[in-house]
């Protein structure tokens, strides 16, 4: 077997690569981490589908509940599967993630916001004044 010195768990642990597990963990702890993440993710997924298909929360608040559950599950995936944590050895990874989240927020929020305003302020075909109604806007 050609195990090299660049193994997944080398001896220098000044930084962690994304996906790396903390150095102190053994194999058993690593498996336990994945199992715990799997259980939590399954629970959150089941909760999402339950909220969507059953009438458990107040109807207008269901979207907010679903989005909250989804964000929680993404956090579970990040921590237990991608091992992006808040430890000092993860500073660079977290900073990059923060910038990514900021960009995603700008794109999503900005698009929805702007397009919603355009929708609100734009006349639809039905609301246009019929022929002859054009002088309406010419009032002094």
């Amino acid at each position: 077997m050609s195990a090299t010195d660049e193994g997944l768990h080398g001896h220098d642990y000044d930084d962690l690569a994304p996906g790396d597990e903390p150095p102190a963990e053994g194999l058993g702890a690593a498996v336990r981490g994945y199992v715990l993440g799997f259980i939590l993710a399954t629970a959150l997924t089941a909760a999402s589908f339950y909220v969507a298909t059953h009438n458990v929360v107040w109807e207008p608040s269901a979207p907010a509940a679903l989005v909250t559950l989804a964000i929680a599950q993404m956090g579970i995936h990040l921590v237990f599967f991608l091992h992006i944590t808040t430890g000092p050895d993860n500073t660079n990874n977290v900073l990059a993630l923060g910038f990514g989240v900021l960009t995603v927020g700008l794109i999503l929020g900005g698009s929805v916001w702007i397009m919603d305003h355009l929708n609100t302020h734009m006349m639809t075909l039905q609301s246009l004044p019929a022929a002859g109604g054009a002088e309406m806007s010419m009032k002094p």
């Binding site: 077997m1 050609s2 195990a3 090299t4 010195d5 660049e6 193994g7 997944l8 768990h9 080398g10 001896h11 220098d12 000044d14 930084d15 690569a17 994304p18 996906g19 790396d20 194999l27 690593a30 498996v31 994945y34 199992v35 993440g37 799997f38 993710a41 399954t42 997924t45 999402s48 589908f49 909220v51 969507a52 298909t53 269901a62 979207p63 679903l66 989005v67 559950l69 989804a70 599950q73 993404m74 995936h77 990040l78 599967f81 991608l82 000092p88 050895d89 500073t91 660079n92 990874n93 990059a96 993630l97 990514g100 960009t103 995603v104 794109i107 999503l108 900005g110 698009s111 929805v112």
Partner: protein
């Protein structure tokens, strides 16, 4: 100047270079120098190992991929009610099928994590077995998704039917293409681990692949929530 009487001003730098230590800042001696203290991410201790830089670079790629997906999501969020008289999400989406897809992809992501553990233990057999199970669940997911697409198109609800369906096929199809590429990559990794073993390059490729696969599951979480669950309930 004063501490170098043997070197006249303007002398060729060769002599000065000869007296200089080869590696004055110990840039190349990170692993030999012991600990540089707990401070990390502050430039201490010289350049990071290749494993760290490769995975970090791939992490940046994944984040930019997520940013690209966010544009597709934004398009869907803007267009999701533009049915153009066509079928709505509530009429089209089948929640049980989405539940199966979600379960398959989550199990696949979990088992790929076990492949990482098996690689850590340098166990070729378990690594290959875990990768195989990962790929099978990923293929099952892809099969269900393609079946759904085929049924939608056959029912006249293809991407050209309405803006809502265009956005739907774009965002879900983009994820499906990523899964397809991931499956090809997975097969390549199985062959490389089999032939080349756990040498450094293979380990780094495996790390990148596993990050990619986990990220696809994160994107699917956003997908099944916003597109399917919110779409079917809206």
């Amino acid at each position: 100047m004063t501490d170098a009487p043997a070197t006249p001003a303007g002398a060729p730098p060769a002599s000065a270079l000869a007296r200089r230590p080869v590696d004055p800042h110990a840039l190349g001696h990170r692993t030999h120098g012991g600990h540089h203290g707990p401070a990390t991410g502050h430039g201490e201790g010289g350049p990071a190992s290749k494993r760290i830089t490769v995975a970090y670079g791939f992490w940046l790629f994944l984040l930019s991929d997520i940013v690209m997906f966010s544009a597709f999501f934004a398009a869907y969020a803007v267009l999701y009610r533009e049915y153009a008289g066509g079928p709505t999400g509530r009429q089209l989406f089948e929640i049980p099928r989405v539940a199966w897809e979600t379960a398959f992809l989550l199990i696949s992501s979990f088992v790929s994590g076990l492949a990482a553990v098996a690689m850590q233990a340098r166990n070729k057999l378990w690594t290959e077995a875990a990768l195989l199970v990962t790929g099978l669940f990923g293929a099952a997911f892809l099969f269900l998704e393609m079946k759904e697409f085929a049924e939608l198109v056959a029912a006249g609800a293809g991407p050209q039917r309405s803006a809502f369906l265009s956005a739907f096929f774009a965002v879900v199809g983009c994820h499906g293409l990523h899964v397809t590429a991931g499956l090809l990559w997975l097969g390549t990794m199985m062959a490389q681990v089999w032939v080349k073993g756990f040498r450094g390059t293979i380990q780094r490729r495996m790390m990148c692949f596993l990050l990619f696969w986990h990220t696809l599951d994160i994107i699917w979480v956003a997908l099944f929530t916003t597109v399917y669950l919110l779409g079917a309930g809206a």
